[in-house]
Amino acid sequence: MSTAEPASARSLGLAGCEACGLVVRLPAADGMDHCPRCGERLHSRRPASIERSWALAITALVLYIPANLLPVMTTNTPLGAVSDTIMQGVVELWSPTSWPLAIVVFVASVTIPLGKLIALAYLLLTVQRGSVQSNGQRVRLYRLLKFIGRWSMLDVFVDTFVVALIQLRPLMWVEPGAGVIFFAGVVVVTMLAVNSFDPRLIWDLPHQERHGHD
């Protein structure tokens, strides 16, 4: 098994400095490694990557609940004030003419954040179990997660624009709801969770331990 395995920086006891690119050998001594040229910390793998990802993913899940339950926008008109949560907005948009918009909002605001969390949980679980199946697909999933992250703020953007633009007091004005803060929190924390995940772990074999313990 080990013979068929391709060599990695880690298996050779090497690490690249993420700041200056210097390739260094990692000493066997237990402690924090620093780049001798720029002083940046060196990691063969990001430290506590799985733990941090899990923590942030769970945070995102927790924030996801109030983000969906609290109203994201309150529209004040002479007819009264209407507060809408994300799902209420989707339901309201669901009409014969604007159903595509409803789908866009539903996908961008409900499906994607939840899908990201599920995908991240899948990656973390498979890495923890040391699965080696379909590594290529999992890496592609990871890339999709990283790419999609910055686009899931759609709802937040819409909210901020609408709140900023529709201020025709006293005729009509829009106020942000607490839900949008939580929603932004979900997006940011999910991005951080994806960032803490070290994709190199996908390729690590279960019997390979940290350097120096081979």
């Binding site: 690490a15 066997a28 490694d33 040229r37 733990e51 945070t59 007819l79 803490s196």
Partner: protein, 561 residues
């Protein structure tokens, strides 16, 4: 390590510097989800705490109501929202489930009222125009009860008076509603001071009870003696002062109104308690008449015809109205063996007036103003013993209208007021007018029945007898003239002489006696007596001179004094 150094690819690679590692078993990153969970939990708790009670309101119709949109407003502030609408199991009403604000928790007590506010155009004004744009909402009025209630029945019409409005409610009893409605204004000196809050037909259907609300600073002008009257319309009267037009306000002409005032002599009285009941009069004049307080009902039985005696006809005492007829009907007299039918007249007497007329109540009751029933009974019993009776008398001979008069009938058979029956029975006598009629009729009947022919014959015989008698009398008188008159004349002369002697004697005695002595006084009295005696004798003499037959027959009846 040795294995790595042996690697040929990186012989010149620098070695990473190593510093001591501060390692902890649990990464600090777990603080983040904990913070998020705490934050989320806190918001959830806040939201749960902000959740008010859910109540159920029953509406007659869900017209204008919308689940999720229609709000409940208390004085214009949103305090709840309809969550769902459904038809009640009995299919008669609509049940609305309403999510209330937590602040409303203490307001959901018995007495709290809900009603639908929508645009309402009435003669009294236009209200709820704002709902034309915003849609109907549910108005709320907080009750004063203490028991928490979770289901309510919406009012059909919005309450006219806000629950916390300062002021007082009063009750008016009226025979009919007239032009009154919810919100009909109430005027005091032509200033609008209140409104009609509600009205209700009495259970017996004989009248209405109207609840009115008088606003705070003005409610103290409602005294126990205050009169309320219908102020709707115009009151035009032509009197000695000219044409008099009276009205409260233009609004009251159009939609009606009520007014109240207190008679001047009671103006300083204490304000009436809330929910005091007043009578609603038809107009100001009847309202401001002297109070007919404490009317007492009596029953009068009449054997004569009561045709012309209308309900409302007055009962008078010495011409002063002291009551009025309440009802007239037939009644069987069960005390007699053969049941006889008579008229039963129910009268309402105002004893206050009656007693005011009769005597000063202050004197009667020894200073206190209240007259107890016992005092009244005693007084009336006394009057009846002196012959006071009820009698039907004609008010107008032309129209045949009758009224009840209380008059003294001295020769009336003895009677008393029957205090035991309810109402008491006041003794009555046959009416004077009807009596005269009856008497005339009976006289005519007797006259018709007279045997005029027989009388004529008798009369002739009598005349013949009379002529003979007169001749006898003539002879008798002639004899008297010859025999009796000289003797009588000498008697008179003698008497005169005696009197003259007596006068002389007395005159002498008068000189002898002092002017203030008892003897003199007695003497003077005696002289007066004697003079009277002499006078009598003179009168007798004169009489005998003119009627000598008196010596035989005695004084004749015609000249008896």
């Amino acid at each position: 390590m040795t294995e790595r150094e042996a690697e040929p690819q990186a012989p010149e690679l620098p070695l990473a510097e190593v510093t001591a590692r501060k390692r902890s078993r649990l990464s600090a990153v777990w603080i983040i989800p904990i913070i998020a969970a705490v934050l989320g939990g806190w918001i959830a708790v806040q939201k749960l705490l902000a959740e008010g009670p859910t109540i159920e309101i029953s509406f007659a119709s869900a017209d204008g109501l919308e689940a999720g949109k229609t709000t409940v407003k208390y004085n214009g502030v949103d305090v709840g929202r309809i969550e769902s609408l459904r038809v009640a199991p009995d299919r008669q009403r609509i049940l609305a489930s309403v999510q209330m604000a937590p602040a409303a928790r203490d307001w959901l007590v018995d007495g709290t009222a809900f009603w639908v506010v929508s645009a309402r155009i009435a003669a009294g004004g236009v209200s709820g125009l704002g709902t034309l744009l915003s849609g109907s909402y549910i108005g709320m009025q907080i009750g004063t009860g203490s028991e928490r209630v979770r289901s309510f029945t919406a009012l059909a019409v919005p309450p006219v008076v806000a629950a916390n409005a300062p002021g007082r409610y009063f009750r008016l009893t009226a025979a009919n509603l007239g032009s009154l409605d919810f919100g009909t204004p109430i005027y005091f000196r032509r200033l609008q001071v209140g409104q009609v809050a509600s009205y209700r037909l009495d259970d017996d259907g004989r009248g209405l009870t109207i609840r009115v609300f008088v606003n705070a600073p003005y409610d103290r002008y409602v005294k126990n003696e205050t009169r309320f009257w219908q102020a709707s319309g115009l009151d035009v009267s032509l009197n000695a002062d000219g044409l008099d037009v009276r009205t409260e306000s233009l609004t009251s002409i159009l939609i009606g109104g009520l007014a109240f005032d207190t008679p001047a002599d009671n103006a300083d009285a204490e304000p009436a308690a809330a929910d005091t009941t007043f009578e609603l009069f038809d107009d100001q004049v009847s309202a401001m008449k002297a109070p007919e307080r404490g009317s007492i009902r009596y029953v009068l039985h009449f054997d004569d015809s009561v045709r012309g005696l209308a309900v409302g006809a007055p009962m008078t005492f010495l011409g002063m109205p002291v009551g009025e007829v309440v009802s007239v009907r037939l009644d069987a007299d069960r005390r007699k063996k053969d049941v006889s039918v008579r008229a039963r007249v129910l009268v309402a007497a105002y004893p206050q007036r009656f007693l005011d007329v009769l005597a000063d109540p202050q004197v009667l009751t020894g200073g206190s103003k209240a007259i107890t029933p016992a005092m009244r009974h005693a007084l009336l019993d006394g009057l009846v013993a002196r012959g006071l009776r009820a009698q039907l008398q004609p008010g107008s001979l032309l129209t045949g209208q009758l009224y009840v008069a209380l008059t003294y009938v001295p020769q009336a058979p003895k009677a008393t007021i029957d205090w035991h029956s309810d109402p008491p029975v006041f003794p009555s006598v046959k009416g004077s007018f009807t009596d005269i009629e009856a008497r005339l009729t009976s006289i005519l009947a007797k006259v018709e029945a007279l045997p005029f022919e027989a009388i004529g014959r008798d009369l002739q015989q009598s005349l013949a007898t009379l002529a003979k008698t007169l001749q006898d009398v003539d002879a008798l008188v002639k004899r008297w003239d010859g025999e009796l008159t000289p003797e009588l004349a000498s008697t008179v002369a003698e008497t005169r002489r005696t009197l003259a002697a007596a006068e002389r004697t007395f005159a002498g005695a008068g000189k002898a006696v002092a002017p203030d002595s008892p003897l003199l006084a007695e003497l003077q009295a005696t002289v007066v007596e004697v003079r009277r005696a002499a006078q009598s004798i003179r009168v007798l003499a004169d009489y005998l001179e003119r009627h000598p037959e008196a010596l035989l027959r005695g004084k004749s009846e015609e000249t008896q004094e």
